[in-house]
């Protein structure tokens, strides 16, 4: 009876489930084929994945793959940045003084309670269109020596989009930091009190306790959810398409409109996101189980 230890078997429920699935498929097929009379044309997609370059005489990534790379870059740098901010905020939230606790609390609650879309627009109007253009980032990158420019472009993407990229990373990192702060806080608070008392007994200061006793243990607990956060960032980075950051979803929108192929483009992009996130999830799960052994 206990559902947790049921044996898998075929039963009457399977008949219902399969019948429903089959009828749904038939209905969809009927709609596409006879009502919409839609002619599929998947041939547009490969051209947007890779293009043949005459000069280099080889295949080069085209918009969709470039977009995917930008998505991964944005997610990676947002993770790095938000981990730093998040760890500081997490420590602040477990501080013994009220002031850092209040600052951490205010930040986390503000970010968690405001929907991401209005937040992104707020960010766009207040920071990305007012502050970032004054930094002169693009000119600085263009003025670099060829070698260091190459390094910067591999890490952060082409220089003509670098300001666009920066606002994408910043906006995502600001949101993600609040969630990482909560992960870190939970990690720190999961350390038994005895550890802290033991640390004090051997004469460590509270800073030393944090550095040598709590953080090394907390980090171990925090790393699996942080890996999960990377997947979350890949998914949430699609939102920055709304403020014209040129990553996968944004390019998908543009291609779908210019080619008038909404079905094919969005299904392919969905599959691209799915394969990346699903692979990451499987890899992280495997690492985690190996680690726990």
């Amino acid at each position: 009876m206990d559902p947790a230890k049921n044996q898998l078997k075929w039963g009457p429920m399977d008949v219902v489930v399969i019948a429903l699935l089959v009828s749904f498929c038939i209905y969809v097929f009927h709609r596409v084929d006879s009502v919409l009379i839609y002619t599929w044309d998947w041939s547009v997609i490969p051209g947007y994945l890779f293009r043949w370059d005459e000069e280099a005489n080889k295949f080069l990534p085209n918009l969709l793959i470039k977009g995917l790379i930008t998505t991964l870059r944005i997610s990676f740098w947002a993770l790095v940045l938000s981990s730093i901010v998040g760890v500081l905020l997490g420590i602040a939230r477990t501080s013994e003084r009220l002031l850092p606790r209040m600052i951490g609390w205010l930040y986390v609650e503000f970010i968690r309670n405001i929907p991401p879309v209005p937040f992104l627009f707020l960010f766009y109007f207040f920071i990305s269109s007012q502050v970032i253009p004054h930094l002169g980032l693009r000119e600085n990158v263009d003025a670099l020596a060829p070698q260091s420019k190459f390094l910067v472009e591999t890490l952060f993407g082409p220089s003509n989009l670098i300001e666009n990229f920066l606002s994408g990373v910043l906006s995502l990192a600001l949101m993600s930091a609040a969630y990482i702060a909560e992960i870190v806080r939970a990690g720190i608070q999961s350390i038994p009190k005895g550890q802290i008392e033991a640390g004090r007994t051997i004469g460590l200061s509270s800073g030393q306790i944090m550095r040598y006793v709590i953080l090394p243990q907390a980090i171990q607990k925090v790393i699996p959810p942080l890996a999960g956060q990377f997947i979350t960032l890949i998914k949430d980075s699609s939102l920055v398409a709304l403020i014209s950051i040129q990553e996968l979803s944004f390019l998908a929108m543009e291609i779908a409109i210019s080619e008038q192929r909404f079905f094919e483009v969005w299904i392919s992009v969905g599959l691209m996101y799915f394969s990346v996130c699903f692979t990451c999830a499987l890899v992280f799960r495997r690492i985690e189980t190996r680690w726990n052994k």
């Binding site: 009876m1 559902p3 947790a4 049921n6 044996q7 898998l8 078997k9 075929w10 429920m13 489930v17 399969i18 699935l21 709609r31 919409l36 939230r93 477990t94 501080s95 013994e96 009220l98 002031l99 606790r101 209040m102 600052i103 951490g104 609390w105 609650e109 309670n113 405001i114 929907p115 991401p116 879309v117 209005p118 937040f119 109007f125 207040f126 969630y179 992960i183 806080r185 939970a186 608070q189 008392e197 944090m210 699996p224 959810p225 999960g228 956060q229 979350t232 998914k235 949430d236 939102l239 709304l242 979803s249 909404f262 079905f263 969005w266 299904i267 992009v269 969905g270 996101y273 999830a281």
Partner: protein
């Protein structure tokens, strides 16, 4: 944002929540008994910090020579013409947001319930369907899901109203979280309860209805209320497609009036009020449930 992280987050976050004032547990055991004077100083410093941030923001806006037009804001809510009140666009948007969230909640519960029972059943195809559904939703961004629902499924399934496409999409998205909560609630009921109901001769469905669910529902309620908060937040993503909810109305107003600062601050505030009110309610529920056990 950071939608899928809940899986990790929830288990970790249970250890502590609430306002910074309540969080006395920290590095030194005697922190709770810290003198009132120190708390006063901290509050003062916090206040000064906030003043400083407001001042920086104020100077920034002044440097842009932005012309504030707060006096036009009431018109966005309502106009009074000949003793007749005509509601403004923000009120309409708010109505749609609440409408979407309410129906989304109902459907998400339904989808979550069906998925949870499929996952707990011993039918092979049932579990497979639930698994495919959960992995698909978890590993693709909400924005892409919205696009696929709007550009692909809406014409295929012949839905006439984009509002309902949006509601369906959000319901399927939140349904995946609801199913985890419902499943967790059911699994958390002790094994002995199943055995006892078997002993008194109840069949599986009667055991669910009379024994298991009455115990599982109070455990599920607080996190399920959290889904309503998420629905309000995520409904803003529907502004990407033709759903005229709060964020869309705000964007249209900005396109008309160029009052981006006022409107985004206002709309952000409106969302904050809604989500904080609901979150407080969730916290209240949680404490009641914890107290009852």
């Amino acid at each position: 944002m950071l939608l899928a992280n809940k899986k990790h987050g929830e288990s970790l976050q249970e250890k502590g929540d609430g306002s910074p004032l309540a969080m006395g547990r920290s590095l030194k055991g005697h922190s709770v008994s810290r003198s009132n004077r120190s708390i006063f100083i901290d509050l003062l410093q916090f206040f000064l910090l906030m003043m400083f941030l407001v001042w920086v923001g104020w100077r920034g806006v002044e440097a842009m020579e932005y012309r504030w037009q707060w006096y036009r804001v009431p018109d966005f809510f309502y106009k009074q013409i000949d003793n007749e009140i005509i509601w403004g666009p923000l009120i309409y948007g708010l109505q749609i947001t609440l409408y979407v969230s309410a129906w989304g909640m109902v459907l998400a519960l339904l989808i979550g319930l069906i998925t949870a029972f499929l996952r707990l059943s011993n039918s092979i195809s049932g579990r497979l369907v639930a698994r495919v559904y959960l992995e698909t939703i978890r590993n693709t961004p909400l924005l892409v899901q919205v696009s696929i629902f709007y550009f692909v499924l809406q014409p295929i399934l012949g839905i006439n109203n984009p509002l309902w496409t949006g509601i369906l999409c959000l319901a399927f998205f939140e349904g995946s979280f609801a199913s985890e909560i419902i499943r967790g609630g059911i699994v958390s009921v002790e094994k002995g309860q199943w055995e006892a109901s078997k002993t008194i001769g109840l069949n599986r469905w009667k055991a669910y209805v009379y024994v298991v669910l009455p115990q599982a529902v109070p455990i599920m309620l607080p996190p399920l209320t959290g889904i309503l908060v998420n629905l309000i937040k995520h409904s803003a993503i529907l502004s990407f497609v033709a759903v005229f909810e709060l964020t869309t109305e705000a964007r249209n107003l900005i396109a008309d009036t160029f009052m981006s600062f006022e409107i985004w601050m206002l709309v952000g505030g409106m969302y904050l009020v809604m989500t904080i009110a609901l979150s407080t309610l969730v916290g209240f529920f949680e404490r009641r449930v914890r107290g009852a056990r």
